[in-house]
Symmetry: C2
Subunit: 235 residues, 2 copies
């Protein structure tokens, strides 16, 4: 009794690749064997191999391109936020997750990252410099709403990166990505947007100042207020 429930063909390929990654036989930057070669290796059809590659693609583990040469085919990368953003976004659409939970999680991670002792001082200083540039760019009155949101996202992710934890950074980025459509939809008209953006600029500057003067707890507190306030403005 209790036979193994017939693993999907593509899962075999996935497991094989995962094992090669763990053992170091495959590493970031390497090319995967061609789809036709993998099909023969595992004695399955190219269609099933393609399933596996497609999964890796969506998960942000490979980048595929046509043509030949060292840059073609499926190349291993590691872009964790791609896969996680996808997942969060879809589950948000399906109402398996709600906005409150995402905002709450953002606050959790951003305030944590703000209070962490940076693992890398040089990087922390670099973040402070780069966020200053972003703040200036967000001052441009010509900036479109979408462009503002993009820079704003970059601002927050950059700050979170100070903690030196790529899981947290990835989650931050994914949460921000997954919710961006919601944000755009919930503040439809420019009249209501103008006063909001003025407050956001002021808050960003205060946050940056707290970081630059090493007032980490204050930075965390300002971040929380900033995020909470902004989402109170949507709908």
């Amino acid at each position: 009794m209790s036979i193994t429930p017939a693993p999907r063909a593509y899962q075999v390929v996935l497991e094989s690749i995962e094992a090669d990654l763990r053992s170091g036989k495959l590493a970031i930057g390497d090319q995967l064997p061609g789809e036709r070669a993998l099909a023969e290796q595992h004695q399955i059809s190219r269609a099933s191999v393609r399933d596996a590659i497609r999964v890796l693609d969506v998960l942000g583990l490979v980048r595929t391109s046509t043509g030949s040469g060292p840059n073609s085919g499926a190349v291993i990368i590691s872009n964790p936020s791609a896969g996680i953003s996808h997942a969060l976004r879809m589950h948000l659409a399906a109402k398996g997750i709600n906005v409150r939970e995402i905002v709450e999680s953002r606050i959790l991670m951003e305030t944590w990252a703000a209070q962490m002792n940076p693992r890398n001082q040089a990087h922390a200083q670099q973040v402070i410099d780069r966020t200053a540039v972003l703040i200036m760019r967000m001052d441009d009155p010509q900036l479109s709403r979408d462009a503002f949101h993009r820079i704003d996202a970059e601002f927050h992710v950059l700050l979170a990166s100070m903690a030196g934890n790529s899981v947290v950074e990835t989650m931050m980025e994914s949460l921000r990505n997954s919710i961006s459509q919601y944000v755009s939809e919930s503040i439809p008209d420019d009249e209501s947007w103008q006063p909001i953006v003025r407050v956001l600029r002021r808050q960003h500057k205060a946050i940056h100042h707290a970081f630059a003067t090493n007032q980490r707890e204050r930075a965390a507190q300002l971040l929380e207020e900033h995020i909470t306030w902004f989402y109170s403005q949507t709908r």
Copy 2:
């Protein structure tokens, strides 16, 4: 100039389904149209439709099964941790993420969840009761290592669920899943396992007691020590 860079065929299907989810035209529990029907709707081949369904499957958004009837085909579910676990696990294998970062994130979320005021008192009480049962089951000396780890994972996820934030709960579950293979490999022999498991049992009981007596800060502190200690024993 600057033509749209030819979206992949499967992405069209994905976007269409995402839009239907947002608009409520599709909801959890619904069946997706059949692959052949979707292919005709979008004027693409069934192979491309399958790509899209495969992605949704891996992301934990649909469950597929063969046969006919109301339970067959692709049915919309929402199991966010499936997709996120997949992603984290692969990126861990590819060394795009390291164990320290995962442990750090676990501590962040578990201690946060422990200190949160439960949104739902009844659920919190239920969690306390159910974790008590899990603790008893982990006392069984006959328990295999794998079984112990499974129950242990359930214990931690259950505690995290008290906060009533499915993103955090999902992340917890995913982090725990993604790292389980690492844990199993890093403590190979049973001789070194026996003393460890005794300490773990004691720690679990202390954590449970802190929750049961509503000492939330203490629970958080014990959790942090528990997790930190355990990972100091691996490798």
